[in-house]
């Protein structure tokens, strides 16, 4: 394998319902930095049906090239079909790096592609850098259950691949009118030869917990002691008009469902205000909330790592503090309204 044959940074562009996923835009921002440092081009690889109009967005967010596979075959994501497009494209144009969002689709696709190429794949990356000279990708992620960070390298294979957490990288401000080169490709697969079929897509109509879209997130941890104790979090969230978040321990204990989990194996959130109550602050949790605008931590243990990662900390018992806060907050808000 001659590494000089491999040039350029690629981002797998995830799309749904006629829109580019925000994680792909973030990766274009991160990929742009890597490509500039290396002095190479940044490309998006866009697969789907009727997706060609999305190339405009991909250019505006930083790509120089977009490889497009636009065929009815790609209407729904399927590992078999998308993988084939990526493998053929990678084989033909030989990128040095391919980045994917660490979404269920991105992880599914990257795992399959890495096995077939073969190459190394780093999962759930939260920091990316590249060695200017060698082109070696430095992909870092929380490891061993999230207690420390590890930097992973893939020295002997190209392309190097990583899945990257949503909301960790920053998208560039879109440059309206920015254009680049569109390269259209097709794969020669027949529908009847594909072993999987998507029969139906069902959107859940129940009110979804989208804690990643909330302005205020009130998150609770094991420090609340029990399912009953955790209800305090719901009360505060309700009072503030926020969404409820939770640490991994709490979700594993069954106090609340997984969609509420903040952190490496949960959701990354960037609310304007984040409460961490009874959460000690393992790295795997911190990576999921550290970019919140204002972080307020309440914990009994003065040494808890969460206090290193907050703006304001209260050392104390949540059961003494939060009920009083709820009451006074309600009072303050209603007297404020009365004055208007």
């Amino acid at each position: 394998m001659d590494f000089n044959d491999y040039k350029g940074v690629w981002v797998f562009i995830e799309q749904k319902d006629g829109e580019v996923a925000s994680v792909s835009l973030e990766l274009l921002g991160a990929g742009r930095k890597l490509a500039d440092k290396r002095g190479v081009e940044l490309a998006g690889i866009l697969i789907g049906e009727h997706v060609k109009p999305l190339t405009k967005t991909v250019f505006e967010y930083g790509a120089d090239i977009v490889y497009v596979y636009d065929q009815p075959l790609f209407k729904h994501y399927r590992t078999e079909t998308y993988m084939k497009a990526l493998l053929e494209c990678s084989d033909k144009y030989k990128p040095e790096i391919i980045l994917y969002g660490a979404t269920s689709t991105g992880k599914d696709l990257a795992s399959a592609v890495a096995t077939d190429l073969p190459t190394g794949l780093t999962a759930d990356t939260t920091e990316l850098d590249v060695e200017e000279e060698t082109g070696l990708l430095l992909a870092s992620r929380p490891a061993f259950g999230g207690n420390i960070m590890a930097t992973i390298l893939c020295k002997k294979y190209r392309p190097q691949m990583a899945t990257v957490r949503a909301k960790v990288m920053k998208a560039l401000p879109p440059e309206v009118g920015r254009i680049g080169k569109v390269v259209e490709e097709t794969v020669s697969l027949k529908e009847e030869d594909i072993r999987t079929k998507v029969l139906e897509i069902v959107k859940e109509t129940v009110k979804k917990v989208r804690i990643d879209e909330a302005d205020i997130v009130v998150a609770g941890g094991k420090g609340l002691g029990s399912y009953e104790g955790f209800q305090l979090i719901h009360h505060l969230a309700e009072t503030l008009g926020g969404a409820v978040g939770a640490s991994r321990d709490v979700v594993e204990a069954g106090w609340i469902d997984h969609p509420h989990q903040v952190g490496q194996t949960g959701v990354t959130v960037t609310p304007k205000i984040y409460f961490a109550i009874g959460i000690s602050g393992a790295i795997q949790h911190i990576v999921g909330m550290k970019n919140a605008g204002l972080i307020i931590a309440i914990n009994k243990d003065k040494e808890a790592p969460i206090f290193q990662n907050c703006h304001y900390g209260i050392v104390g018992d949540a059961f003494e503090i939060v009920p009083v806060l709820i009451e006074q907050f309600k009072h303050a808000l209603s007297s404020d309204k009365a004055m208007k």
């Binding site: 590992t79 269920s104 073969p118 992973i152 999987t196 998507v198």
Partner: protein, 275 residues
């Protein structure tokens, strides 16, 4: 007869484990080794499908000799057979080398009893990648179905399955030919307490234990550290940020200060009032 293989892993309980602050490595003595919680759901689903459609459930794992206890746990859940591949030459494997070794084990298992379905947990709690399951499927050239949270139907005669795959805002109904591989969500089932007869069976059970030499057509270069394209170049504790300002005083004083901080962001709450 329908044969389901569940792939499992023994992991340190990362909730309890302590790090050695000098070396930044896991101090394994501080944490008990357990069956990866996600894999318990994979085995449970295999057992439930056996109850629905008949057949046999085997579990397979790669790991050091103590991993036998994780296999026994699966027998308690209701698996019939357990296979451990253990060898120094497997050590240091990343996800690519792991999927290679486990695939070789499954191929050997399939020689005596053809495999119809493979079930993996979503990921392991120590690696957190979820990459091994799809890797095994690719190596066996069978469809990988990730994020499975319900098995709707298995039609053995016509050779297909219908499952629900979880999506961010709902789910999709997918049909796949058999054999195929699922990696399942935790929400697919609840793992109940094991029935007493299973516990007794597990206590006596001796799994099949294979070394590299017991497997067939193995390319040694693809095993363990040597067969792993990724390497961990450094492990580091992230730089501690400066930290926040402590709100001092008694609870009443602390609440008072906090309230002032929140009220500075009043616009956030007013928009929530819907007035």
């Amino acid at each position: 007869m329908f044969h389901i293989v569940a792939c499992i892993k023994q992991v340190p309980d990362t909730k309890i484990i302590k790090m050695n602050p000098k070396t930044n490595t896991m101090d394994r003595r501080t944490a008990p080794a357990i069956l990866n919680p996600y894999d318990a759901h994979a085995v449970e689903e295999a057992v439930r499908l056996k109850q629905r459609y008949g057949g046999t459930v085997s579990v397979v794992t790669m790991g050091p000799p103590p991993a036998v206890s994780a296999i026994k746990k699966c027998i308690e859940i209701g698996a019939d057979e357990g296979y451990l591949i253990t060898d120094r030459r497997f050590a240091g494997a990343d996800t690519l080398a792991t999927s290679y070794a486990v695939t070789k084990a499954i191929e050997k298992i399939a020689k005596t009893r053809p495999v119809d379905l493979i079930i993996c947990g979503k990921m392991s709690i120590d690696g957190d990648t979820g990459q091994v399951g799809p890797g095994i499927a690719r190596r066996l050239d069978i469809p990988p179905l990730t994020s499975v949270n319900k098995v709707v139907d298995i039609n053995q005669e016509e050779g297909y399955v219908v499952v629900h795959r979880k999506l961010e805002d709902g789910y999709e109904v997918v049909q796949s030919t058999l054999p195929c591989l699922f990696s399942v969500e935790k929400t697919i089932n609840d793992v109940p307490y094991s029935p007493m007869p299973n516990m007794l069976k597990a206590a006596r059970y001796k799994p099949h234990i294979w070394s590299v030499d017991d497997l067939e057509d193995v390319d040694i270069k693809q095993l363990g550290l040597k067969g792993s394209p990724t390497i961990v170049s450094k492990v580091w504790a992230p730089q501690k940020p400066a930290g926040g300002t402590f709100l001092e005083g008694n609870p009443a004083a602390q609440v008072e200060q906090l309230l002032q901080i929140l009220l500075e962001k009043k616009e956030l709450f007013e928009s929530k009032e819907g007035m």
